[in-house]
Structures are given as C-alpha cells and as structure tokens.
Symmetry: C2
Subunit: 562 residues, 2 copies
C-alpha cells in the first residue's frame, strides 16, 4: 500500500467503530412497531426484540460469558437465533453457529475446535448432545431452547424439564433478566462469528468474520438489493423469511439487513413444507433465499397452485448450487421472482447476484431465464478476477476460463487454527474459490466447473459441466459424466461416461460424429470432444447425490483408457 | 474501549480498505450508459466519466501532484468538479474545495493555510486570482477551467487563453492524457478532502474528511434515503442535480451516492434561475437539495407554474437554515416533495433528515407540514445526545433542552492546524454542534437555538427563537428579538426588543399580560416571559440579515436594563 497523509486527530475526538450493534440500533429508530414472527407460536415487535437482546446480554453475563468467549447455538431458524446474532456478538463474545447437519462426530469436533464455552441448544438436539456430551472439552454450561414454552405459560413451564448441567430455559432466563444493557464500543475487527465448512477430505474448516466484515457485507447487500433493486426489498412493504439455515453463513447475511431496515421478519423453525407455505401466506412473506432443492419441493407441492396469488409476490434468491432453467421456468410460471446468486462460506457469502440491467429487464420473462440462472453479476465492493494455473490473470472476455479469485471487505482471513489450509486459501493475496468460470465484459460470472474437475488440455480449460450439458442434449442420453484423464501429449484429455435411455443403441462413434458436426458449425471447441466414451449402467455418486468425479477418476481410469 | 478477541489473519490474507475509488468502481458495473450532464454544454456516460477521472489522475501526476499534496478547486458545480471528487482523492491527494463566496482575503487565507499546491480554477475567478496571486505561498501551478471549450472545438480552443503560470486548460490536458490508471489501495484513514467554514469571529476553520468517513457517510445516506425512503431515490428513474454548491460539504455528499448508484446526474454550473429551471425540465431532474432561499426563489419564479408538471416529480431536501411552514406549504402546493434536514460542515454534513413513519405518512399533506419543516429524525449510524452546561446528558423527552452533541462515523476529527478550537469542538469526546434542541422519544431533533443565544435562567434554558415566535403572534408586533442579560438572582433573564407595526400603540404591560395569560393556560413556561420589553424602530442585523444578538447584548444592554 502506498504512503499517504492520514487525517490528524484531536486528542478527545471520537470515531465510532462499525459494529453489529450499529445495525441493531437502527431497528429502534424509525419503525419499531414492525414485527418478528416465529412460526405460529410467537411474535414480538422491534421494541421487544431490542429489550430481549439486552436481556440475553445480561443472561450471558450471568452464566459467565466474557468478551472473547465462544457461545454456540444449535437451533432451527428462530427469533432466538436472531437475538443471538446481535446479543452474543454485541457483548464482545463469538457466536458459533453449529452446523446441525454434520455427523455427531463432526459436530463434536467443531464444538471442541471452536472452544465453545456456553451452548444454547434446542430440545430437538438433546439426543445428539447426550451422545457427545462427555467428550466436549470446553463447555461450561448449557441453556435450553424449547418451543413448548410458547404453547404453555412460561411461568410454570409444564413439559419443559431442565437437564443436568443446564443453567435454565431461555425464555425463563430472559424473563428474569434486566432489559437494560449498554453495549460497549470495541475494535471493529473483533471476532463476531464462526462456523464450519466441510470439504471432501479432512476435518471441517472453521471460518470466521469480524463485526466490520458483517457490517460491510450488509452494506454490500443494501447497495445491490435495495439500491440497485437486484432483488426488490422495500422495508415498508416487504416481509423476509430465510429458507437457508441461520447456521449456514448467517442465512446469507439477510437477517442483518432485515434488522437494519426494521423490516418484518418471519422465522420458520424447522423447515417443514406445510409450515413454510402457511407462513408465506398468513404472514405475507415476499423475500426469501434457498437452495434449488427447497424451491423445487415448493414449486412441485400441491400447495403451490393453491397459493398462487401469494407466490406471485414472492422474490427468491437461489444459491448453493446451480439453478436449472427448468426449475427457473417453473418458478417464474408461478409468478415467483427468481434470481440466482453465487458465494461460499468463506465469503460471508455474497460474491455475485443476478442483476438485470435496463436492457435485460425489457426482455420477456422466458428470454430472461438465460440470465436469471447465471451465477450473477459481481456484487458491489467485490473484486473478482480469473486466475490461471500460473497465477496470472485471465481476460474477462466471456470465453477464457480461470479460477475465480476474490478480494472483498467480508472474506474470512483464514481457517481457525489451520494455518496450512488458510495459507492455501489465500495464496498470492487472493482468496481462491476453487471454482472455474469465465467473466463477461459486463460482469457476469459464468461458473463452469470446480477447479478439481476442470480438464486442462493443451493449455486450454474444458469445463466438464459444459460438456455434460452438451451430451445431455444428445437424443437417447439419460445421464453423463465428463472427467479429465492424463494424456502424454495434451496433459489431460476429456473422457465421458454415458448412461443410455432404455430402447436406444447409441455408439461412441455416432455421438462423436454428432459432436464433430457441432465443431464444424462453430458451436463447440474441438478440444472439448471426449477422446473416449464409455457406456455404463450407472454413474458413481456421492452420498448427497452429486457425481463423484474423484471416484470415477481413480477407480474407473483403467476401464476408460482400456 | 473494552478488550476483545480480534480475528486472526493469515499472512497473505487481504481485506480491502474503504476508499472513494470503491464507490467509483460500482458506477461502471451495472448501468454504465447513464449520463452525467453539464448545463446545456456537455454530456458523458459513466464509461467516459471513468476514463476522464483516470485521465485527470495522469494529468495530476504530470503536473507534480504526489500523495498527500493538496489540490484546490475553484469552480461552479460541474462534471469537472465531480471528476476531482474522485480523481484527486483516488491518487491519494487532498481535495481542497475552495469556498468562492468568501472574501478575497479569506480565500487567500484558506489557500495558504491548506497549503494548496495545484489549483484548478474557472476563468470566472481569474480576476480574484489576479488580486491574490502574489501572496499565495505554496501554489506551484494552475489548471484553467473554461466553459468556452464546449462551444468551440477543443483542439483549437479559440477564446481560451492560457495565463502565465498555468499548466494548461483542463479539457486539452485530459485529451492528451492516457485513460489508463490503476488507482492504488491505501489506508482508509487517508485525508481525502478539506474545506473552510467561517464563524462570527476568528479566521476560517479547516475541516477535513477521510476516505473511510466519506464512504460511510454515503452508506448512511443510502440506508436512510434509499433504504428507508426518507427521500425517494431510485437510481433507475431518478435524476440528481445539486443546488447547494459542491464546495460546500461536497454538495452534502449526494454526488458520492449518485455515482455509487450510477444515477443520471446533472450539474448546473453557476446557479442561474433560468438554467436551473431549464435543466429540471429538459433533463427530468427529480432529486435536489438546497437552502430555503433558493427554494423560495424557485417557488416564486414565474417559471414555477409553467413547469408545474415537472416540479411535481421533484424531491428536495432543505437544509442550511430553518424551513418555514409557509415556504414548505408553497412548495408542497406545487407538488414538490419537500423535506428538511440538519447538519453542519463539521459533520460531513448529515445528522438528521425528515423521515415520516407509517403513521405520519398517512396524514394529509397539510398535516405533514409540521413534521416536514423539522430538523429531521436522527440519521442512521448517527448518535445524537443533548448535553447541559455541566456536561451531563439531558433526557430525550421532547421538552428538555440541551446542546446537541454527536458521534458519527463521518465527523471532522478537529480543525486543521488549530488545536485549541479543535479541542473545544471535541470537549468530553463528543462533537459540540453549538445548537440547542430537544429530542423527542421518537428521535425527532427539534432545534431551538444557537447555544450562544439560548438564555439560561434559574437552571432552565429558554429558546430565544421560541420566544420570538410567540411574540410574532401578538397583534401589532412587526418584529422582535429576544436576548438574555445577566441577572443576580437567576443568572440570566430574557429581555425583548419589539418593532411595532404602524398604527399600533402597544405597551410592555399589555404584552406581558397577554403572555401571562398564556402561562396561566399552560401554553408557556412562566420563566419565558421577558423581564423587560423595549420598543425600538429597528432591530440590529448582521450583514447577511440575521438578528445580531451579540451586538444587541453588548451595545443595548444599558438601554434595556435602564
């Protein structure tokens, strides 16, 4: 960084740090009567919410939480979780949002690795806790979260039993605590949150974010969603409900934005299709975000047609994995305003969101689909580049492929207690996403592949996903997988596995001829055409149903090359 | 500040600073075809604008500007000025926006005090420059700004003569410079801008702002104006034009917001009623800000009725001095969406802007006037308190008066090279505004007086302005001035000067009896009633037409108390 002249400061002059409490404070100022709703069980306005966040701060102090301590939460999406987003962080403690979808052994690993001191846990996870409790090395006490208290009177709490080692039940503790608490100022680089992300190998990796990072991520969302209207979000009329879990990258940071704007928020608890549909209708939800699987489930549910009128006011940001054109069309046909986005745990997560410029907005909805399923345009304040294997930047011409590397004001600065993988993430001063893409001159990120699946052949990169898309359009192909295997001359060459539809008799020769015709017509680069095509009855998949290219490369190599 | 745990950082990890170039970068991303217009002379889109800002950066390097150097601008509101907002600051230099309304002696003082090295000056100010040039101690070169180049061909520049000591004319220099320039990263606390503010005594005071401060001020405006819709500003349809000068607190920071949003911007040059009206109509201006005087001029101009349709799409933020209900009504009757705000040079400037909550928006326009003329509700990220003479905070009950003291992420951290007045500004760690107000529980700032004019009597504060308002409603009173004078028992007591309307025969006794009746009806605190009322033919005024209370207190003290 170059040397410049900094502003001089008078001894007593003060410049406040950008903290999560700064976002919270605005929710009391202008429209404090707006509501935060939990399922069909509980509702509070922002005045009550702010009181409860302060009561939580007092409860945390009572159970021994000090600045720098880690407080873990295991809960479904709830107002309580939102209170922890603000209360735990604003006393200077670290919020560990435990990924409850991991295996018990992984959860145990993350809780010990994060050095959780106090744990807030929903009663649904008590069996899990019982299984690992003896091996938790740093936890000093627990607080019980129970939905039963909203259906009974909190005073008596019939049906809520406080297990041994617990400090009490959340609502009862809050009720007994003072609603007065002055959140202190502290360094904006203070550690605010942590959570763990899993890869295909090794232990889960802990990412972490500071107050400043979460504040600026909120400003980025505000600039893009509200300022540029990438997604419509008018705090006066819109109602927000997350459908990606709050433990997963803070529900993509939306709860911070919704609270800053004192918008009405709805928290659905455990994701149950009926409850989700009911809340969308009765609470008038207009903005959500989810993975394609959830959208698919909702679009195909019998309720979707019934609630058509409500769905047509609903905007949904899709991320986590690629949005197919078919699903996008089904959603748009229901009137759902659907857009994709791209990001990752390490990037808090927003890197890009679909933004239709004036020209693209003028297109018919059908013509917009091509744009709406993209990974999006680079988000405000994000710097995204493409890097080749030599660490050189690749041109943003919409053609050249490279690994997406980024610098943003909200990226994890490493992995907790894992210097080696942290250094690899940040090699060369850019965060490496592990995704291969092209970038168009007008800032669309076109994700092509994972770096480990992209095929490097003769200095060119071949996207295995693009090639699979081409094969999927061949008559008679039910499914395909394209992988790279070593080649003496070209470094690597693409090879394909194909599952035929019943009744077809495809040949490798026939398919190759079809692909060569595309090459002749300029629709396909010639180096994309697979060297070999192997017909198989089944394509190896991972436990979550993704094509297991690693296994194909290692186990099927000889079979393919034979 | 309390001690917390900061996020750990991997050696190569990078977190970008918040700089003015960060705002600029977004203007190229999403809607770069939108325009920036200068009078009826010149228009460019954001692609061209970004090129020109980089050309300017190269020109600055050529004339010897280094990081930390000060570059002064004397210009009317123009695209050139906007280019300097971004270009001068983004090379790490300091932009001094010279207040061209000061006297030549004061301008000379500020340019020497700021240590201006390079000066960009509009030809209209060359006579001024001739008068002071010999006494400028730090200036090394000048660049000429001329509007003639837009009406001739820039190549030949007939009519543009380059004076001795000048490096050239702006457009010609830009044209010869490369449009390639990579703006470097540097510390976000880098000094970005300076300008001077005058008080009743002493030399002008230099305030200054960092990149971080101007970035966060923009985020505050974004949250409030666009997020909360305090003023409507949709970048897709709105067109911005400043009518408070760019040298005055960066035109209230709006150009930074408009550029971030790549909104269409219109710069009117020298403020001429005809040109302003013409631009509002032909360019479709929908958002401006100005002082009441300018609004008054426009509302009462013959053009106003003619351009009614255009004015009814126009939102205007009013600040600088109080907006009267009469002017607000006249503007609202024309369909102009008018709101007041409050701030000062030291605060970059936004402290509060009128925000009508859901309840207040439901009122009729006439009933909204009471709210719209207020100083506004405390703006996002601003902390505002009331402080009494003992340095204690006063309750926000809408009644109690105190000096407004603030902490915001965008306040000057002192006065340049003026430690004494800087320390006074920041005494006790709060920036002292010198304004007395009450604050309502729902965050309205109700400005009552300047601290030096408020009357301290028996532990209570009396707003001289409030008392003058009461007197103005007495039949037969043409004008009044209320001041505090020393009193043995109460510290101070209010006294009034009154000018009678012709044909009236008011008496002090009669007026006091009327005021006492108000006290009995609970409409007035009894300590507000002036001890003495003196009838005068004229009330002393300052050169700008404000009541000169300082002079009244010193010169008329004996006459009043006699």
């Amino acid at each position: 960084m170059i040397q410049t002249k900094l502003i001089p400061r008078t001894a007593e002059a003060y410049e406040p740090p950008m903290l999560i409490k700064t976002l919270l404070a605005q929710s009391l100022r202008y429209e404090p009567q707006r509501e935060i709703v939990y399922r069909d069980l509980f509702r509070i306005n922002y005045v009550q919410f702010n009181q409860r966040v302060r009561q939580l701060a007092n409860v945390l102090a009572e159970v021994g939480v000090k600045p720098g301590d880690t407080v873990a939460v295991l809960d479904w999406d709830s107002h309580r979780y939102l209170e922890c987003f603000f209360g735990v962080t604003s006393v200077g403690a670290i919020l560990h949002t435990v990924n409850i979808r991991l295996s018990p052994a992984q959860i145990l690993y993350t809780m010990n690795h994060a050095e959780d001191k106090v744990v807030l846990i929903h009663e649904d996870f008590l069996p899990l806790l019982t299984a690992v409790k003896d091996q938790l090395t740093t936890v000093e006490t627990y607080i019980l979260l129970s939905d039963k208290v909203y259906t009974n009177t909190i005073d008596t709490q019939p049906g809520v039993e406080i297990p041994v080692g617990f400090s009490g039940e959340y609502e009862a503790l809050l009720k007994a605590a003072s609603p007065e608490y002055e959140f202190p100022d502290f360094d904006e680089n203070t550690w605010a949150t942590s959570f763990y992300t899993t890869g295909t190998t090794g232990n889960p990796k802990g990412v972490y974010f500071s107050h400043r990072q979460l504040f600026l991520h909120t400003m980025g969302l505000l600039t893009y969603l509200i300022g540029y209207e990438a997604l419509p979000f008018k705090s006066r009329t819109d109602v927000y409900m997350p459908i990606t879990p709050m433990f997963h990258v803070h529900a993509w940071g939306f709860p911070f934005l919704a609270t800053l704007m004192s918008a009405k928020q709805v928290y659905p608890g455990k994701y149950e299709p009926e409850m989700l549909c009911k809340l969308i209708v009765t609470e008038g939800v207009t903005l959500s975000h989810c993975v394609p699987t959830i959208l698919n489930m909702l679009v195909n549910s019998p309720a979707a047609q019934k609630f058509r009128d409500n769905l047509s006011r609903w905007s949904v940001l899709i991320g986590g994995s690629a949005l197919t054109k078919g699903l996008a069309k089904a959603a748009l046909d229901l009137g759902i305003n659907i857009s994709a986005g791209y990001g990752m745990s390490e990037t808090a997560p927003i890197l890009s969101v679909v933004y239709l410029n004036e020209e693209e907005r003028a297109l018919s909805l059908d013509d917009q689909i091509d744009f709406r399923v993209r990974a999006g345009r680079i988000a405000p304040f994000v710097e995204a580049r493409l890097m080749n294997e030599d660490g050189q930047f690749v041109s943003h011409d919409g053609q050249s492929l490279g690994e997406i590397v980024v610098r943003t004001p909200w990226t994890t600065q490493g992995y907790y207690n894992d210097p080696e993988r942290g250094a690899d993430l940040w090699r060369g001063g850019w965060l490496h996403t592990g995704d291969v893409a092209s970038i168009t001159p007008d800032n669309w990120i076109m994700v092509a592949d994972r770096t480990k699946d992209v095929i490097k052949t003769g200095g060119e990169w071949v996207s295995s996903l693009d090639m699979e898309n081409v094969l999927s359009q061949v008559e008679g192909v039910a499914e395909s997988a394209v992988i790279g295997l070593p080649d003496d001359r070209w470094g690597e060459r693409p090879h394909a596995l194909i599952v035929q539809k019943p009744g077809y008799n495809l040949t490798a020769e026939g398919i190759k001829n079809g692909l060569k015709a595309k090459v002749d017509q300029g629709e396909l680069h010639k180096w994309y055409v697979p060297d070999r095509i192997l017909f198989v009855s089944e394509i190896p998949k991972t436990s979550v149903g993704k094509i297991d290219k690693k296994r194909i490369r290692s186990e099927m190599k000889d079979q393919i090359l034979s």
